[in-house]
C-alpha cells in the first residue's frame, strides 16, 4: 500500500516538475507576496508594529484567494485526466488499491503546495526582514501562516480530488473547480455580508452569521492567523467579522482539517464507484 502510493507520488512529482508547476507556484507566491509587502506597507511606522508582522497579515488575505486557486489547479486533472486518456481503468487493474492511488496523487500535490507556500512566503519574508532590518518577532507568525495556509490548501486539494474523481473529462473537472473557487472563496463572504446588511443587526447577525463564516475554511484560516496578530493591526470587512469571534485556536484548525477528511472520503467513494 505505502509502496504503491510512493510509486504514484514519485511519478506525479516528476510530471509536476517537468511541467514547471513547482517553479510556477513558487514564483506566483513570491511575486504576489512581494507586491503586497511593498505596495501595502505605508502605515507600518505609525502603528508601531514591525513590518514583518504587518506583511504576514496582508499575506493572510492573499492566501485566502491564491492558495485555494493553486490547490484546485494542482488537483482537478488528477483523475479526470487519467479517465480521459484511458489510463485510469488500466491503473485500476494493477494490484494497488484505489485508496493507495488517491493517497499517492494527493501526497504529491500536497508536497508541491507546501513547497510553494513555504518557499514563496519564506522568500517574501526574508526580503522584507532584510530591508526592514528590525525585529524578527514576525517569524513565529510567518510559520503559523505557512503551515495553516498549507492546511487550507490541503482542504482544497481534497476538494479538487473529489471533483476530479467524479468527472469523466478534464474540461468538466476544470469548470467545476473554477465554479467552486468562485463560490467558496469569492462569493461566500459577499453573500453572507449581504445577508447581514439585510438582517440589520438581528439574531442572524449575532448568532448564525459568525458560525456560517467560520464553516468556510478560508475564513477559518483567516481567523486562525489573525488571532495571533497584535490587535492594533486593523481588520476590514470579513476580517473584522471573524476577529469579533472569540473561539479557541483549535476550532478553525479543526474546521480546516474536517474539509480535508470529508472531501478525501468523497473522492475515495467516487473512485470506488468508478468503472474506469
Amino acid at each position: 500500500m505505502i509502496r504503491s502510493s510512493v510509486t504514484i507520488a514519485v511519478a506525479e512529482l516528476k510530471i509536476a516538475y517537468r511541467n514547471q508547476w513547482v517553479v510556477t507556484a513558487v514564483a506566483l507566491m513570491t511575486l504576489f507576496g512581494l507586491i503586497l509587502a511593498f505596495a501595502g506597507s505605508a502605515p507600518a511606522g505609525t502603528l508601531g508594529v514591525d513590518r514583518l508582522t504587518l506583511t504576514v497579515s496582508s499575506l493572510a488575505t492573499l492566501c485566502v484567494y491564491l492558495v485555494p486557486l493553486i490547490a484546485l489547479l494542482l488537483s482537478y486533472d488528477g483523475f479526470a485526466g487519467e479517465a480521459e486518456r484511458g489510463s485510469l481503468p488500466l491503473l485500476f487493474t494493477y494490484p494497488a488499491s484505489r485508496f493507495a492511488l488517491l493517497a499517492g496523487k494527493y501526497l504529491a500535490q500536497l508536497v508541491i503546495l507546501a513547497i510553494a507556500v513555504f518557499a514563496g512566503f519564506g522568500i517574501t519574508a526574508g526580503v522584507v526582514w532584510s530591508v526592514d532590518g528590525g525585529s524578527s518577532d514576525g517569524f513565529a507568525l510567518l510559520f503559523r501562516l505557512q503551515w495553516s495556509a498549507t492546511l487550507l490548501g490541503a482542504g482544497f486539494l481534497a476538494l479538487g480530488a473529489a471533483l476530479s474523481a467524479a468527472s469523466r473529462q478534464t474540461g468538466t473537472a476544470a469548470s467545476l473547480a473554477i465554479a467552486v473557487w468562485l463560490l467558496a472563496v469569492v462569493m461566500y463572504d459577499v453573500g453572507l455580508l449581504g445577508a447581514v446588511v439585510a438582517d440589520d443587526g438581528g439574531t442572524f447577525t449575532k448568532s448564525v452569521f459568525p458560525w456560517l463564516l467560520l464553516a468556510n475554511p478560508t475564513d477559518a484560516f483567516r481567523l486562525f492567523v489573525l488571532q495571533a496578530v497584535d490587535a492594533t493591526v486593523p481588520g476590514t470587512g470579513p476580517q473584522a467579522a471573524v476577529q469579533m469571534l472569540d473561539v479557541p485556536a483549535f476550532v478553525p484548525v479543526a474546521i480546516m482539517t474536517a474539509w480535508v477528511i470529508v472531501f478525501l472520503a468523497l473522492a475515495l467513494a467516487s473512485l470506488r464507484r468508478a468503472e474506469g
Binding site: 510509486t7 516528476k14 481503468p89 487493474t93 494490484p95
Partner: protein
C-alpha cells in the same frame, strides 16, 4: 485442470438493456481466444467484468479461482486497453518503471522489456514524442510485466505497422506458450485467423458462437469457392459444363458445400489441359464472422 477464466451465465444490465446476456465461456491456460463482435455487442462490458472493473448483474466469474478484481486476480492479470494514452511528460522508461513497481516487479526488468518491444532507443524520450505505434508497444511492454497468467488485449494491433504486428503476435504466442491465457478483441479479422485457438462471437450481448475456426466453418455450412483458371478463352464452355460462374475470360468460379469439395475438384481435373490452375478458397474468418453476426441467425448457437 481448472480454467484460467471461468465465465458462468453472466449477465450485465444497464437499466433495461442487457449489455451482456447469459454468457458462459471458459478460457484455458495457454489458450488464445479471439473475442469478436460488432460495436456495442458487449465485448468491452465482458472485458470490464473479467477485470473486475464492473460487477455482473447476474452469474459468476472466476479468475484463477479468485473473484475478478481481487488482489490475487489483479496480481496475475495483465490488460491492454484500447487507445490508451500514457502521460506525455514521463519517459517510456519512467512510465514502465511505475507499472513495474505497482506490480512488485524488479526495476531491472524494465530495460529488458523495452528492448523486447523494440523501444530501447526511445526509452528516455518523453511519451509525448511517441508515435501511436510506439505508445502501443509501451502498452504491450506493461502487459508482459511479471509473466501474467491472463492477458486481456483490447484492439491491440491498431496503429501498428505490419512488422510491429508480426512482433506483437510473436510476443502473444510466447506468452501463450508460457501458459498465459490470452483474450484478444480485434477487428482485424484476417490477422486473427491463423493466430487464435478459438473464436468467440458476441452479438447483442449473447454469445452466438464459440469454437475453433474449422468447427465454426463446418457448423455454418458456408460454401467453399473453387477458382479455376482456363486456357485459350474457353471459360464460357467450361462454365456451362461445370455449372459455375464465369468471372472473366480466363477464370470460372465454382461454389460448393465443403463436403462436395473433393468431388468437384475431380470434375475440374477431368477437363485435363484446359485447366491452367485451381485455387481452393475456404470461407474466411470474415465470412464466418458475417454469418454469425447476421440478424437471421438470432438464437442459433453452436
Amino acid at each position: 485442470m481448472n480454467p484460467a477464466v471461468r465465465i458462468d451465465h453472466v449477465t450485465k444490465r444497464y437499466g433495461a438493456i442487457a449489455a451482456v446476456d447469459g454468457v458462459s465461456l471458459n478460457l484455458a491456460a495457454g489458450e488464445t481466444l479471439a473475442l469478436l463482435g460488432p460495436n456495442g455487442a458487449g465485448k468491452s462490458t465482458l472485458i470490464k467484468m473479467i477485470l473486475g472493473l464492473t460487477d455482473p448483474s447476474d452469474g459468476n466469474i472466476e479468475v484463477l479461482g479468485s473473484p475478478p478484481g481481487s488482489h490475487a486476480a489483479r496480481q496475475s492479470a495483465a490488460y491492454l486497453p484500447e487507445n490508451v494514452i500514457f502521460h506525455k511528460s514521463l519517459t517510456g522508461h519512467e512510465q514502465l518503471t511505475m507499472f513495474a513497481r505497482l506490480k512488485g516487479q524488479p526495476k531491472a526488468s524494465v530495460q529488458h522489456l523495452l528492448e523486447r518491444v523494440a523501444l530501447a532507443e526511445a526509452m528516455h524520450a518523453r511519451i509525448g514524442t511517441y508515435s501511436k505505434g510506439m505508445r502501443q508497444k509501451l502498452g504491450l511492454a506493461q502487459v508482459l510485466l511479471g509473466q501474467p497468467k491472463i492477458a486481456i488485449l483490447d484492439e491491440p494491433t491498431s496503429g501498428l505497422d505490419p512488422l510491429s504486428r508480426e512482433m506483437f503476435y510473436r510476443m502473444i504466442s510466447e506468452l501463450a506458450g508460457a501458459g498465459c491465457a490470452v483474450l484478444l478483441s480485434s477487428h482485424a479479422l484476417t490477422e486473427l485467423e491463423a493466430r487464435t485457438d478459438r473464436i468467440a462471437i458476441l452479438r447483442r450481448g449473447k454469445l452466438v458462437a464459440c469454437d475453433r475456426l474449422s468447427a465454426l466453418r463446418a457448423a455454418a455450412g458456408l460454401p467453399v469457392r473453387l477458382r479455376v483458371e482456363i486456357r485459350n478463352g474457353q471459360a464460357d464452355d467450361v462454365a456451362s459444363k461445370l455449372g459455375g460462374q464465369r468471372v472473366n475470360g480466363q477464370a470460372v468460379e465454382l461454389v460448393c458445400e465443403a463436403r462436395d469439395k473433393v468431388a468437384r475438384l475431380a470434375d475440374v481435373t477431368r477437363l485435363g489441359r484446359t485447366v491452367a490452375d485451381i485455387d481452393v478458397v475456404p470461407p474466411s474468418l470474415e465470412d464466418v464472422y458475417r454469418y454469425y453476426s447476421a440478424a437471421q441467425n438470432e438464437g442459433k448457437t453452436s
